[in-house]
Amino acid sequence: MSELPIGTTKGPGETPQDYTFVTPDPEQRCKYGEFVYYDAAIDGQQRAILGRITQRLPLRLYPDTFMSDPAVPPQAVADLLAYPRDDSELYQITATILGYYDEGLGFVNPRVPPRPGAPIYIAPDALLGEVLCRATPGQRGAVHIGSLLSRPTDAVPIALDATGFTSTHLAIIASTGAGKSYLAGVILEELMQPHNRAAVLIIDPHAEYDTLSEMQNNPAFADGEYRAVVRVIRPQDIQVRVSSLDLGDLRYLLPNLSDKMHHELGQAYNRVRRKYGERWTRGQFRTTLLEGEAGRPVTDPNEEVDATIGALVWRFNSVMEHSAIFNDHTNIPLSDLFCPGQCTVLQLNEIPDREQQVVVATLMRRLFEARKDTERGRAKDDDENYLPYPAFVLIEEAHNFAPANAEIITTQVLKQILSEGRKFGVSIGLISQRPGKLDSDVLSQCMTQCIMRIVNPVDQARVAESVESVGRDLLLELPALSKGQVIVAGASVNTPLMVRVRQRLTPHGAENPDAPAEWAAWFDDARTRARQRGRALPPGFIETAPGRDDLLR
């Protein structure tokens, strides 16, 4: 490679993987996270050994006293001594060896640091494009999320390998406003493009992903016969068949159960399933409850019932009958939710937290069971739980579904999918702004991590403990990242990378609200002028003038 060297090897660093080199670096190219290489002969073959810059120390510091007047830069003082400015800058750079890239093995560390005095080169864009990520943008399995942060925009495009995170899961972690949802949008766009045609679903508690529908009108998401489909399921369209709830779900949904009620509920649940099988209705469950263990038929509707049973029925009714999502017969068919080339947005806004959790738990359970049954040949075409393709589910606000220090109904199914999902082609992506509040097992099982700016020390510590693949040097960058900058590590890239997220093709649905602008708009509004007029009129005319009531309507 023809470029001039940027620096010269000084010697070993603190760890066996580190080495140091010295450079005047007049163009400031040796940034933190930048990639450099040295040449070494490995098995008789000349190889570029890549490394990442982790530290930069100036070697020639102007004496402190040169800086005693803030208006006079120390270089100006050095000018006085006829010291040439260009000669003053000299840096010691520490780089961590990644190794040379082997198609089959990935990065192989040669375990030989560079010779002292060996030249160090800045890795050319083309080399990095080839070795940093396995996937090439636009090709099958490539999720082009942006470009390498240390290079100019788009100089080194970075694509995640979808086969990585669709088998061993994904986590997107960052403080609020760092750009998680934006990145998730980019990932979904990539998954829906003609080269991927994925079957994805996004759990959207804040209804911010419906702008993805724009994909349907964008030629980037069409190719020949193919056209990406976006299906937005509004909260009022969500349906959960009560018989898809398991006992745990029921216990979780019904408030304040006593020990006795728990017992009765469990008994009734077993009985109703024995009697009616997989599909039972709310009425059948109530009857089963009232019949008691003896199975005494309920004949007289006015008959005194046991106080515990009565209270239980009352709780059951209050949850199951008054919620719009539960019903006796219909679940949203899995094949409506998951289909290659379709992105389903499941909006959960306006649904109470516990019901959201139940919706997610039942859905994930159904998905996982269907995939298991289909893979094992137990489900056939036309069966309700026949799903002959893998599916990927993105979960926003994941800490609500797998909280730390608490086992809720979703935790179990999520953990099961995280540990066994790859066998059956079920994968999940967790998005959370509070990693500290997310179950640490859950987080550590997501083998591809996208970590954006994190300021809170508790959250930083959680990330550090759960995410092994990101080195300490990169974790130190977390608070310094800006919006739209992400550290990607794990199974979908060849080495941890700092990436600048690309622009969305569709509009972002969660723009920050601009309160001052909205207040201002209120005053510009015609209605406001009308109100002013109304106020200004003499009292007798208020009735007929457009008054407060009209305005507030």
Partner: protein, 194 residues
Amino acid sequence: MFIGKIVSASSHIDYVCQVFAKGEAEVVPEPSDYGFGQFVAIEAADGSSLVGLVHNTSLLNPEFGNLGPRLSPHEDLAVFAPDYLSEQATLVAILVVGLLDAHLQARQGVPSIAAHPDARARALARAEIDAFHRAHGHLQMAYLPLLTGLQSALAPSLLEQTFALLSTLFPADSARINVLRANVAWRARILPTG
């Protein structure tokens, strides 16, 4: 052209040379011929010469401080007292850094032979400076530790001046020289001033 003769040595490589005054040589040397940092050759045995650098100057003047009565004005002395010898002299210190033999073969570093008293010193011509520094076609400065080891406030300036001279003689090596020059300048100018 000779600049003077060796009158003393404080070490095997550090000589004192008395600059020829009027009447002592056919051509009286110009101050630039024995200036600070000038490369000089001192005659040695079998046609070889010691190569050195002027690194200091001092003046000898017995009349300094002698304010006693004098018989005639200074200008008239030659007329009235022709046997009166001027005892004023300019002395330059020469640091020997190597040897050029009769065939212009250079050997840098401390030479095995020494100069004898009264050996004459002359300014080195450019071609000789070039020959002294060229090894396998490239610049060599194996004697540099002798300069850096010089216990003198003038040592950094001597280095800088030598680097500057050699940069012009060896433009192909100027990048290498510059690395050393920048370092010396930083340590000599910036650090002590701060």
